[in-house]
């Protein structure tokens, strides 16, 4: 079976259970994905399922918002309250005034949107205030228009016999860009596959501001200035093109717009990129040559690609780099992956159930990529603006399922906090009482964990099941909650009996090509669809069965024709962050560090796991990285609590000194709150005290609507003293109206 206490992967685990309770867990050695291996989050799964803080039954707020006073109610009562509110809002304001949000993990990718579209009848499903959809969506949108499919490093994950498969070979080089895959395990990718490949001879090129373990083992480490990725990626293209290291055959036969691309990247000489990106010029040249000369090479990219205003341009450049070097869908390159058996339910699942006249009111509908269905969700920045201004219509209800925005996902968290307080009605579905639930919720519903629900995983391959072996008080699976509420609101769209029945329906009816029932798949545990390399040669990518790619022109688009039609730049471009050493040099004197955020840790998945004693033993406090000498100049020593501040706000973390950080760059963790602290405001579990999103911004996106500067703010650092710590950020935000220096 598959689990994930809150994670994107799909490692096989074996549960031991007794009387509806899980009593043991270990990795499944027969599972080809992880072969028994687990990260510490799954190994310590029991502490999270049986934790005394877990939500046990539905709760209704009885005090003021933020007071943390609740009354236990029944599921029926909870549904009745919600149905009445929904009906009232639909009637008086229109269904579009209801916004449903989700975060990530807990195997939810299509459920909350289905609820939003089919039960609430609102087009406004969105990610918990994730500015510019800056997690995989920019990359996915680019891949949608350029290749028509996603790519992943060929780690043999598509074959049941894995590294033994005779067709497979290890990439000569893996270019790891803006990701630390070992703790991250993002996007259906088991990070330690990279180590498997290193053991089989792959060499690394790593683009990362931090000397991670992988970077230290790399043949080339490019210590990039956060936010300048698009420039560096274009320099890679320029070197590969001018030094004639590209695959003429592939470019000629299968791509579109090569000359235009070559012309565009010409200005990105190694010299220019080196000075803008703070990367050593020779390292850059040698790394690009190594990638271009390799017989096979692959790119593993991370969320840093998305988290800048030109995020889509970075993604476009890297995608083009894989293509022109002839590494698309070949052994040891980047494989084009499809959802197992075509079962690609995603954010558009159920959108057709929204009445047409309401669908056009989706917030952010003006962005063409959205209209075309590359990401059906509403634009979270536009949602924020609608809440703040009441325009184009007011937002009256928030449904938050598996998301804890103010701890984690929302850029400019204090601003989002103030906005969310204004919404009339708010429901939170989660595992624990989160800062978000305490601050805003009227109703809190307890969700089941993976051992307590049926499910499957199709991201990407093989298709595998999640098996229910336990129950926990009155917690319900996300699907059951949605189903029961849906039946009360729009029964025609919710014909299924329960969680499992829904999956059975999906497996047999929703674009599912294998003909297996849920039970049949469960018997097998997982199932690998047939995989072939070079699908574009064989007519396996296009619905019409013709060779080529599933794109507008049928070619892999180095110049995106559709963008041109939509009035967008069809080629990659670069733009300095709004505040940076070069765009605002005077401000940089006052805030002399570029701050990157969101680095991953083995102990946690985003804002989860902070209440687990074992995980906190390894990682008790939030940590920021700073260059050793830069710290010395500021009188900061290892382990000191420091304030990190810019014009938007400040937060504190413990300093970790690192002689290999660029002295102009700092790196902070995200997702921190402190379940051990007081829940009620002004403390709110200390959610703003160490929150890097006090410094980020909303509504600073690229022309496609995608991309936001989460990883490239500027800031200053100073030591925490008793004197400067009189008013903690949580009090500042919840009681004093926010940081005084915020300029709107």
């Amino acid at each position: 079976m598959w689990t994930g206490p809150g994670c994107h992967n799909g490692c096989g685990v074996i549960y031991y259970h007794k009387d509806n309770e899980v009593v043991g867990i270990e990795g499944d050695v027969n599972n080809p994905i992880n072969q028994g291996r687990l990260c510490m989050r799954c190994i310590n799964y029991l502490e999270s399922t049986n934790h005394p803080d877990r939500l046990k039954w539905p709760l209704k707020r009885i005090g003021e918002r933020g007071e943390n006073k609740w009354e236990r109610i029944s599921w029926d009562e909870a549904y009745d309250i919600i149905v009445e509110k929904v009906r009232d809002i639909q009637k008086n304001y229109g269904p579009e005034s209801i916004v449903a949000m989700e975060g990530t993990g807990r195997n939810i990718v299509w459920q909350v949107n289905y609820l939003c579209y089919s039960a609430f009848q609102s087009p406004n499903f969105t990610l918990g205030f994730l500015s510019g959809d800056s997690c995989y969506m920019p990359r996915a949108a680019v891949e949608g228009v350029t290749n028509g499919d996603f790519f992943l490093v060929d780690c043999s994950q598509q074959f049941e016999d894995r590294y033994e498969n005779p067709e497979w070979r290890a990439p000569e080089y893996i270019l790891i860009w803006g990701s630390n895959p070992l703790p991250a395990n993002a996007d259906g990718f088991f990070g330690h596959w990279i180590v498997d490949l290193m053991q089989r001879g792959s060499k690394l090129i790593v683009v990362d501001p931090k000397l991670t373990w992988l970077a230290s083992k790399a043949e080339y480490w490019l210590r990039i200035r956060p936010g300048s990725d698009a420039a560096l990626a274009m320099a890679f293209l320029n070197i590969v093109i001018t030094e004639d290291l590209y695959d003429h055959d592939f470019v000629g036969k299968w791509t579109n717009g090569f000359d235009a691309l070559a012309e565009r990247v010409k200005e990105w000489t190694p010299e220019r990129a080196s000075s803008i990106c703070w990367v050593d010029k020779d390292t850059l040249i040698h790394a690009a040559r190594a990638f271009g000369n390799a017989e096979c090479a692959a790119i593993h990219w991370g969320v840093a690609v998305d988290m800048s205003v030109p995020g889509v341009a970075t993604a476009q450049s890297l995608n083009s780099l894989v293509a022109i070097t002839g590494n698309m869908d070949v052994p040891g390159g980047n494989i084009l992956v499809q959802y197992a058996y075509g079962q690609g339910l995603a954010y558009n699942y159920g959108f057709e159930n929204v009445p047409e006249e309401v669908a056009v009111k989706r917030l952010g509908n003006e962005y063409p990529l959205r209209q075309m269905g590359f990401g059906a969700n509403a634009h979270e920045d536009a949602v924020l603006e609608a809440i703040e201004s009441g325009k184009p219509y007011p937002i009256k209800m928030l449904w938050l399922q598996t998301t804890n925005p103010i701890a984690n996902m929302a850029g400019e968290a204090p601003r989002v906090y103030a906005a969310m307080k204004k919404v009339d009605f708010c429901v939170v579905v989660d595992l624990y009482m989160t800062p978000t639930a305490v601050a805003f919720a009227d109703i809190v519903l307890p969700a089941a964990m993976s051992s307590e629900r049926w499910g499957n995983r199709n991201w990407y391959t093989p298709l595998r099941t999640i098996t229910k072996v336990a129950e926990y008080y009155e917690a319900k699976s996300d699907e059951d909650i949605i189903l029961e509420l849906g039946k009360r609101l729009q029964p025609e769209f919710f014909p299924w009996k329960d969680n499992k029945d829904w999956y059975d329906w999906i497996m047999l009816n929703e674009a599912f090509e294998s003909g297996m029932t849920f039970d049949e798949l469960q018997e097998k545990v997982y199932s690998f669809p047939k995989f072939e390399y070079k699908k574009y040669e064989k007519g396996l990518l296009r619905p019409d069965g013709e060779p080529g790619f599933n794109t507008y022109t049928g070619k892999l688009e180095l110049k995106i024709e559709l963008y041109e039609k939509w009035g967008l730049d069809p080629l990659p471009w670069y733009q300095e962050p709004r505040e940076s050493p070069y765009s605002t040099p005077e401000l940089f004197e006052e805030y002399p560090f570029v701050m990157t955020t969101g680095n991953r840790a083995y102990e946690f998945f985003h804002s989860e796991h902070r209440q687990l004693k074992l995980n906190r033993e390894f990682h008790p406090d939030p940590i920021m990285d700073i260059n050793t000498e830069a710290a010395a100049k500021l009188g900061i020593t290892e382990g000191d609590w420091v304030w990190i501040e810019n014009r938007k706000g400040r937060f504190k973390q413990r300093a970790r000194l690192d002689e290999f950080m660029d002295p102009r760059v700092i790196r902070a963790e995200h997702g921190w709150w402190f379940p051990e602290k007081e829940a009620a405001e002004p403390s709110l579990f200390g959610v703003f005290d160490s929150n890097c999103n006090n410094l980020t911004s909303m509504c600073d996106n690229g022309p496609t609507g995608y991309g936001a500067p989460y990883k490239n703010q500027i800031a200053k650092v100073y030591k925490c003293t008793e004197e400067n710590s009189q008013i903690m950020p949580s009090t500042q935000v919840t009681r004093l109206g926010g940081f005084p220096y915020v300029k709107k």
Partner: protein, 114 residues
């Protein structure tokens, strides 16, 4: 910990140990160890720069006196928990003699905690 009077041990290929803490966690959960107690502990050297411009960044997991080589698991025919869960697949378990034969490359070490 002996079958047929053989001594059993852990072999670590520490060139590829990433410091992911899975072995430490697996041992703590398996043996129900309290806060501050470890059956295996990962030691770290580096990162530091070498004269040749490369970096040294090494982790080595060290079994402590609390390690019983997962006697219960092994008797049930399973791998020790740390070995099974090691994310980099750098740990092996077996008789010392057999493991010694596997020492085929630099940066390997054999521990005989019991």
């Amino acid at each position: 910990m002996s079958k047929n009077n053989e001594r059993y041990a852990l072999l670590i290929n520490y060139e590829f140990c990433t410091g992911c803490h899975s072995c430490e966690t697996a041992c703590k959960v398996e043996n129900n160890l309290t806060h501050g107690q470890w059956g295996i502990k990962v030691a770290q050297d580096g990162p530091r720069k070498l004269e040749n411009g490369k970096f040294e960044f090494i982790h080595v997991p060290i079994p402590t006196s609390l390690c019983n080589l997962c006697e219960d698991r092994v008797n049930k025919g399973k791998l020790p928990s740390c070995v099974q869960h090691c994310q980099a697949a750098v740990m092996s378990f077996g008789p010392v003699e057999e493991l010694a034969e596997k020492i085929s490359k630099p940066q390997m070490v054999i521990f005989t905690p019991v």
